[in-house]
Point group: C2
Chain length 343, copies 2
DNA sequence: TATTAGCACTCCAATCAAATGAGTGCTAAC
DNA sequence: GTTAGCACTCATTTGATTGGAGTGCTAATA
């Protein structure tokens, strides 16, 4: 709200709102008519000229209307978009079916969000770094394979097949199971480091050779954290002419399909924590090059105890920030704790 | 090779081959020059006129060259594309990294295939209907949860969380495990029907109430066959102008993203088995409406014992059928048996 | 009788000019 | 400080023109 002056702000606000609706450059006459400022188009023109000099708006070409610059959008998001904390009553409720496989829940969430917003969406699996081991079991599958089943605190189950030279006898298997459970139980992933492992190898005593193989496999499985990213609604971008020419559409959809690049967004959004938990990247603010003509809004959802994931919406710069941010708030609220009670 | 006559066939062949390369309607003059027929353009014109009457080629508009009709492509694929069984030496080898998670292998295959062909690709997880149960284990996870781990013949592991009212004592658990393994071991999915289950409930005797819950959960888990479909290279369609206008591209990419519709292709391709295992759908021959401007080539891969999956390539009608079919053959060969030796 | 040369005709695609109109910037008056 | 008025700019649309590729048909040819 700095040195802009109230009138300029009102005009900027009007310009941006109008542009968000129409997607067309907006001219002085429109503003003069559709605001309660009672100023002639000429005056508006002067102010617009100023606003342009200050970098808030931009002319696509001489003698066209103005459109917001990245700086303009930024100002709008930071200052003009008052979060009026409106009642969520009229918000479409996110009916999340209670499937047990988290994967399916996430896919579903992405799809619903895409449908209700008409933008492209992404959601990551939660990062379980703070998650603890709850239960481990080794079973002899056949003569040369061992199956390790590991259950983490939030009922995340991991499986690992371990090849063996020769079968283990029952007693060894039992001991191993006891050893694994008693040592690793309640530990979180960062705590399971080399020191822990070598200590266990010591305790294993005479078996230490075979035990080593097993331990390494188990440790690897536990600590390997696959960050899955699910996207949906990629084709929604065709609804916005400014994104739907072959070139841009292709690049955008490619990044959504390939997903790796999206990971940068995630780490960004998880670390830099504003108080609301919602982050807005406008145009070049996004770390992803192909999204320079887009805006990305991300939010963090939390299932308690540092178990966090990211959900994001990708749309044109003139996206409906208000609706999008509300949707994300609502969604993260609902998502929070949905996995707490299993099934 | 019916009543077409050798010369007509040669001309048709030339037209299609030229069109496959250029993507432009091909005129009589081009054919007259680039074939060894030594016929003037006028003669070619007459023949083309005939071919058009017979429905093999089509004029986009008067006074343009001809392009193949669906019927023309069909003839080409059925009769002109002699599978010369060329040495696969010059084929780029599919280097499939040996990750243990099948999911990742499939994703990788789809991606590589898309990259090497420049078309969109899909691949399904194998259908395990004939697969047998190898190992089952129930574990008491905590006071009100049981974990069932089921391993199938091809080392496919399934997990299921079973909610309990009150914990089971050790003996019951042991008995259950024995019962499950002794009864279900070696059974394939279709064999596990209601009769089997109720018989087991009988055998369970006094526990039958609690056993029922567990059995149902296990049976459900085993029989629930999730047909996963992975796609890749959707944005490759932008490389073909005839597919890359907003409308078509959007619809196509949407079907690739949503995937459900692709399932119809799969069942089709698994059932109707030609001797080569390769199926070609040209334009409207495809069961999927949005692909009427595309051709789809599918192949079946088999991991032995009726464990089958489908892999497919989606491209413009003027795709390089020869290369595509070769690639698929090569791929299915490599894929066959890759999961036989675990890890 | 089959093939070919020649020519009129069609139609797409590219090019260009003029007309349109939304919007600006500037100046002079209020 | 605000406004009316006017000249100017420039993307977009429209229509007319042209060029070229290709066909279909007819008449000549082998």
């Amino acid at each position: 709200m700095d040195e802009l002056g109230e009138r300029k702000i009102k005009i900027l606000d009007a310009i941006i709102r109008t542009y968000l609706e129409t997607g067309e450059p907006v001219g002085s006459r429109t503003i003069s008519k559709y605001t309660d400022l009672n100023l002639s188009s000429a005056t508006i023109r002067n102010e617009m000229s100023n606003l342009e000099e200050l970098g808030y708006i931009v002319q696509p070409h001489t003698s066209a209307g103005r459109i917001p610059s990245d700086k303009g959008y930024r100002f709008y998001v930071d200052h003009l978009l008052q979060n009026k904390d409106k009642e969520i009553s009229d918000m479409k409720d996110f009916v999340i079916e209670h499937t047990e496989r988290m994967e399916n829940v996430l896919k579903q969430v992405a799809r619903m969000l895409a449908q209700s917003t008409n933008y492209a969406t992404m959601i990551t699996s939660p990062k379980y770094s703070a998650n603890k081991v709850k239960f481990i079991q080794l079973s002899q599958l056949d003569d040369n394979q061992l199956l390790a089943v590991i259950v983490m605190e939030a009922n995340v189950v991991k499986n690992k097949m371990i090849p063996l030279e020769k079968p283990l006898d029952n007693e060894t298997l039992l001991r191993l199971n006891v050893l694994l459970n008693s040592t690793l139980n309640g530990m979180s992933i960062p705590e399971i480091n080399l020191a822990t492992i070598s200590k266990m190898k010591e305790q294993a005593g005479s078996y230490s050779d075979i035990v080593g193989v097993v331990l390494d496999a188990v440790a690897e499985t536990i600590s390997q954290e696959e960050l899955e990213i699910y996207t949906s609604g990629a084709t929604n971008i065709f609804k916005y002419p400014e994104l739907s020419d072959s070139q841009k559409a292709s690049e955008l959809i490619y990044t959504l399909e390939e997903k790796q690049q999206l990971a940068t967004l995630v780490s960004d959004s998880l670390s830099d924590e504003s108080n609301t938990g919602i982050q807005v990247y406008i145009g070049n603010e996004s770390p992803i090059q192909t999204m320079k003509d887009c805006s990305v809004v991300t939010a963090t959802y939390e299932l308690g105890e540092g178990v966090k994931g990211t959900v994001g919406i990708i749309g044109p710069k003139r996206m409906d920030y208000e609706k999008v941010m509300d949707s994300l708030k609502e969604l993260t609220n609902q998502l929070d704790g949905i996995f707490k009670k299993p099934s």
